[in-house]
Symmetry: C2
Subunit: 333 residues, 2 copies
Amino acid sequence: MTLKQLAKELNLSFSTVSKALRDSHEISAATKSRVLAKAKALNYQVNPLASSFRKQKSKTIAVIIPEVVNDFFGPVISGIESIAQQKGYHVLIYLTHEDVEREIAITQVLQNGRVDGVLISLSEQTTDTTHLDNVRQKEIPVVYFDRIVENTDAPKVTTDDYCSGFNATEHLIQHGCKRIAFLSISQNLSISHKRLKGYEDALNKNGIKVHTNLIISCERDDEKCAATIRKLLKQKNRPDAIFAAVEKLALKTYEICHELKLNIPTDVKVITFSNSYTAALLNPSLTTITQPAFEMGNEAATILFKMIEKKGYQSMKEATTLASQLIVRSSTK
Amino acid sequence: MTLKQLAKELNLSFSTVSKALRDSHEISAATKSRVLAKAKALNYQVNPLASSFRKQKSKTIAVIIPEVVNDFFGPVISGIESIAQQKGYHVLIYLTHEDVEREIAITQVLQNGRVDGVLISLSEQTTDTTHLDNVRQKEIPVVYFDRIVENTDAPKVTTDDYCSGFNATEHLIQHGCKRIAFLSISQNLSISHKRLKGYEDALNKNGIKVHTNLIISCERDDEKCAATIRKLLKQKNRPDAIFAAVEKLALKTYEICHELKLNIPTDVKVITFSNSYTAALLNPSLTTITQPAFEMGNEAATILFKMIEKKGYQSMKEATTLASQLIVRSSTK
DNA sequence: AAATTTTTCGACAACGTTGTCGTAAATAAA
DNA sequence: TTTATTTACGACAACGTTGTCGAAAAATTT
């Protein structure tokens, strides 16, 4: 059932029918309702491929994320999707698997009208973002969230990573910790930087020297990761607290502590960034800095749609910061 | 940069250029390489909107799932996306939030060429699937996964829910349990049915009477859910084991047990379907039936692409069953 | 009643691509 | 050499929709 067929049924020109369906002021109320009724009766629906092609608007956005196998990106997607569904937009999802080459390949494919906007959380390998600047040059708005890049005038949505890092560290210090190790995954990510800066500043403020050998960047590989943590906790001068920048590292720490018969929190206190519901149920329950993941998706999508809908999106360069929550549980008591 | 502009640069007709780019046998090797070189030099990319429209193929599939905020659907998406990326397809994601009306609205939107295929895991409210039959009638293949519908000849991918239910129950019986409660969320879902059937058959086989008041279907609402479990565990004749059909209910059980000072596994043993990595780290570690989520996404996508690519997809009606894994931990020892 | 404006609709040309068909030129078969 | 066949390209018409423009008909103003 196409527009032309519908028009023939109605004895109207197809341009009239088209305008009637889109509630154009050029069409009388009488014919509008006649068209609408017939369209409903014959279950006519516009062909989105044709419509998108004609208008050069896809009514689709892309979400590019490293992976979706943790408790952070799931809610983020949910937050994005709820706004998109509201606005009548469709959501394409792409996973980079932390691979910058894939990230580049994906952005390449988006450059030609397939999407009207892009939401991205960078891969841990990404240092340069010309591939995203290329997208933006094609008038396709880009919003960064969580894993952002600093030196861009594109809008970004993050949580207050510096404050969270600072507060988490002070929390440990207040509970008597002197040798606090900082575990993160990638040196490239701005979130790692900021969390680390918060950590360092908190130590300095409290008169604790920053030991670079307590600042550890783990590999992606699960085994190497475990080995690093094991080595850290086995050394004579072992840290009395672990501050993990990502949940995975905290869970590995739990495993290793169990293996080495180290008690949490007596021997080692543990704090981590995490959005996992099960943190409260761990043994011992895990103190977390929990990010407002759903809200972050929501906020990023809202900004993106503003940019898509208004043309003056060039002006939108603000950085939005959402507050994370420090949830104190047994692992730091 | 369009095809026409590219053709003008090359002093060729745009149909020649089009054919050269798609490696048509009608074009000589010499001009092909000339075209390809120029296209690369000018960074020409086909307009996907135009191409899709012309061919009436979107190179896009839809994934419709209830939600993405648990450890099951995340890996499923990952499994789907990896195949799609391989095949050069794009993945649209839609969340029903367990709402059948939304599910219907979503399928409505997909009917007109926006996607070449659909992967779906039904909402817990869905009993009737004419909305998906409508999609299939429009020659758009549909593959069901995990939360499927029985009475359809569309392909379906599930895990061996009956066996898992049976084995989990026998596992509890072998550990001395007599009063095993079965907790699920929806009566509509075929997975719930099958898991329940496995539970019942295991009881019968072992000479244990099936008590209908131990078969409990929880509401979606978190509070009501907790109240139901609390009531169950507070009664004089309380069950000595909980078999949860979904992870959420097992975690709620943990919470309530903590609240009521009931010891797991001494007072109550707990087993659940779950894909959570943290199950091993809970207090006590949680015995799970773990589904091969990533593989399920992979398998479903593979079948869908076969149907999309071959025209003889009408013949594909098989049901694929993947094996789940019973991982015994402390909560049932 | 004439002139002007508004309302309401139809004709038509895009949007960029793909596939069919026609047709020269080049090659092969008669 | 003539005829048949293949090769290599161009012309052109779609695909279904939207937006511009023109023009009758109706309503309004002079």
